[in-house]
Symmetry: C2
Subunit: 398 residues, 2 copies
């Protein structure tokens, strides 16, 4: 039996750009209905982010598939009436404004929970709703810089480097979706909603895992390691004849096999490389032995050898290579969405594979909405408008 976990759950999405929309995309993947509120005329800021194709932002399309767009002018009495009607009927509100913005509109959590005591109020912001930086604006790269991840990403001895995807936004969206689900689960017991306060900076700290503990114990901050692992050796990328190959031989047995297939048997009993601790200490010497052999064959030749021996290994793929990967295809991780005015575009799929949800249903394949595309539908369904009134409204605002 097909059963999406969040079927019937209604989410009022006041968010824009990335962290909030990523959060509601995840909830949408589980079956929730997403009612995306957009400002008249311009909508979500990211509708203007390049590249634009036929006036549509690829950035926007990639994380707003299957959502419903309703245009509301939050400063007009009419818009406020519509907002209040909807907010009383939904389970969750998600926003990623700077803290204080919803209060200025008159709709802080303390007000909304009186209107709807079962409401879950998920706020994603740069620094959270408490603390000395609460009022500050933030974007992805700011929290990547402040949260430490940039200081450990890059070439050894080189400049700090931004993680190539907007990991500051994305993981905040992920923790936001997780916190929202937790509050929904708790509501089954308590009967009431609660607020979920997610800070992008907090999330950056949370994903550093052992780097925090290590720094606190060793007393020195780690720097960037390039293509090596901080505490497991050998676990790195090597240059091949034509490209790169990554090998992760993380225990003594794999290390011995790796030595064998690269004609480095003498290293197995070498006291410099006996244990993982030894190998960590003598990382550079060890690396040179492997590098010398590996540059003599192509990536494809090496992968065949490593896979045969079950040595964990892989190529470094550019994004276009993902479209050809049979595993990614089999797992439905690249979707094709038929987007009006543009045609088919590829976007990333839903990585949460639940046995109660068949593979053909696990992804939302509906297109991202045009600005205000569902305004008439939402006004009629949630705000008591008849068709004529709803059409008149859209003429005025959309």
């Amino acid at each position: 039996m097909t059963h999406k976990p969040l079927e019937g759950v209604k989410i009022l999405d006041m968010s824009r750009v990335l962290a909030g929309p990523y959060c509601t995309m995840m909830l949408s993947n589980l079956g929730a209905e997403i009612i995306k509120v957009e400002t008249p005329k311009t909508g979500d800021d990211s509708r203007a982010y390049t590249p634009l194709i036929h006036g549509e932002s690829i950035y926007f399309l990639s994380i707003n598939r299957g959502k419903k767009s309703v245009v509301i002018n939050m400063k007009s009495p009419e818009g406020r009436g519509i907002f209040e009607s909807i907010v009383k009927q939904v389970d969750v509100l998600v926003e990623n404004f700077r803290p204080g913005t919803m209060e200025k509109l008159g709709y802080g959590y303390e007000t909304l929970k009186v209107m709807n005591p079962r409401l879950i109020y998920t706020a994603i912001s740069g620094f959270g709703h408490t603390g000395p930086y609460a009022g500050r604006p933030a974007y992805d790269m700011i929290v990547q810089g402040m949260g430490g991840i940039m200081s450990i990403t890059g070439e050894p001895g080189g400049n700090p480097v931004r993680v190539g995807t907007s990991i500051g936004d994305v993981v905040a969206g992920m923790f936001g979706a997780y916190g929202t689900l937790a509050a929904l689960y708790a509501r089954n017991d308590t009967g009431r909603g609660q607020s979920v306060d997610i800070a992008m900076l907090d999330c950056q700290v949370a994903i550093l895992e052992n780097a925090i503990a290590k720094t606190s114990v060793l007393g020195i901050a780690p720097g960037p390691l390039g293509l090596k692992h901080p505490s497991i050796t050998p676990f790195e990328a090597y240059r091949t004849q034509n490209n790169w190959v990554i090998v992760a031989a993380g225990n003594d047995k794999l290390f011995a096999q790796f030595c064998q297939v690269t004609d480095n048997e003498q290293l197995i009993t070498d006291p410099r490389f006996r244990t993982n601790s030894d190998r960590n200490r003598n990382m550079d010497e060890l690396s040179a032995f492997f590098q010398q052999k590996i540059k003599q064959k192509t990536t494809e030749e090496w992968l065949k050898i490593f896979y045969k021996q079950q040595i964990p290994a892989g190529p470094i793929n550019t994004i276009d290579k993902l479209f050809e990967d049979p595993q990614i295809a089999e797992r439905h991780m690249i979707l094709e969405v038929d987007q009006p005015h543009i045609g088919k575009i590829k976007i990333s799929g839903n990585p949460v594979k639940l046995s109660d949800v068949p593979a053909e249903d696990e992804n939302i394949k509906e297109h991202a909405p045009a600005l205000g595309e569902h305004t008439i539908e939402i006004l009629m369904q949630y705000a008591g408008y008849d068709e004529e009134e709803a059409v008149a409204y859209t003429v005025k605002y959309c």
Copy 2:
């Protein structure tokens, strides 16, 4: 009233190293009880990862706080009896073995769901339980390489770079915790458990967001961008007199303010930089104007100026700087755990701030367990052992 969402939820944790333990750490943060199964004598592989302090791995300690450790030899009849007793009484089983391992033990999901139809079975693996790569081993860096993120991380024109934290494991753990919660939520309706199949490679594809769509539309794979944002300008790091500063002036108004405070007023009306599209196209020229001014003051001086004008900006912190940050302290994002034999160590906190859970309760502050520390307790509570039998068992296996 304090209410942790997962209070009363019992999780049998067969996982080791990082992705699985990160998943159960997140569930533990929400109040679930984690019963961590470890192999006799050695336990979780990561107990051997350096650096070791008084024989304890900092890596292990940082993500296993507050869990209970029970030693079970899964190949002995006695161990299998204990496992079966426990698995019938828990809500969730989490494992991150290579697919097929649990089946070889005789405990694949199809078997376990007969023993416990309400069981949620969360499996995190490199490539998932379906598809041509399902049987292959994987580690963090392998999926970082295969999943594309390394190809867009690094200096422009330079080598691909590994993200400095084990983002391949961490986001798989996050999606695993999210999927587990989704299945728990669904169980409230359906009355039955289900399996959650999380692949590290899938998760890497999922966090690429707009890079997938952009590549599919433009037909060319992006390369690394160093310290710049792929579609918003100015949004980058600049060298100051003493360090770096990041500025994210992502819309026209912020751009104008940024020009003003850096004595670059002439750029505001320059046709090369009028819109975000223009600025993206002429990124390097624009960058040079700002860089020239910004190198004349220190990071601290610039931050004071930017914060005053509410221009989003921040430093690039090394990990040790996080310990001094007042916002991170106020948000309880660095915990101190008193670890036996070692003393206080700092680890990262829980970024999910729920209004029903007071700040003093939101983090688990109990130490990480010694190998088998809770064996007697768990055997007595779940497997019908009396104290004498449980003690005899631990003498034999722990």
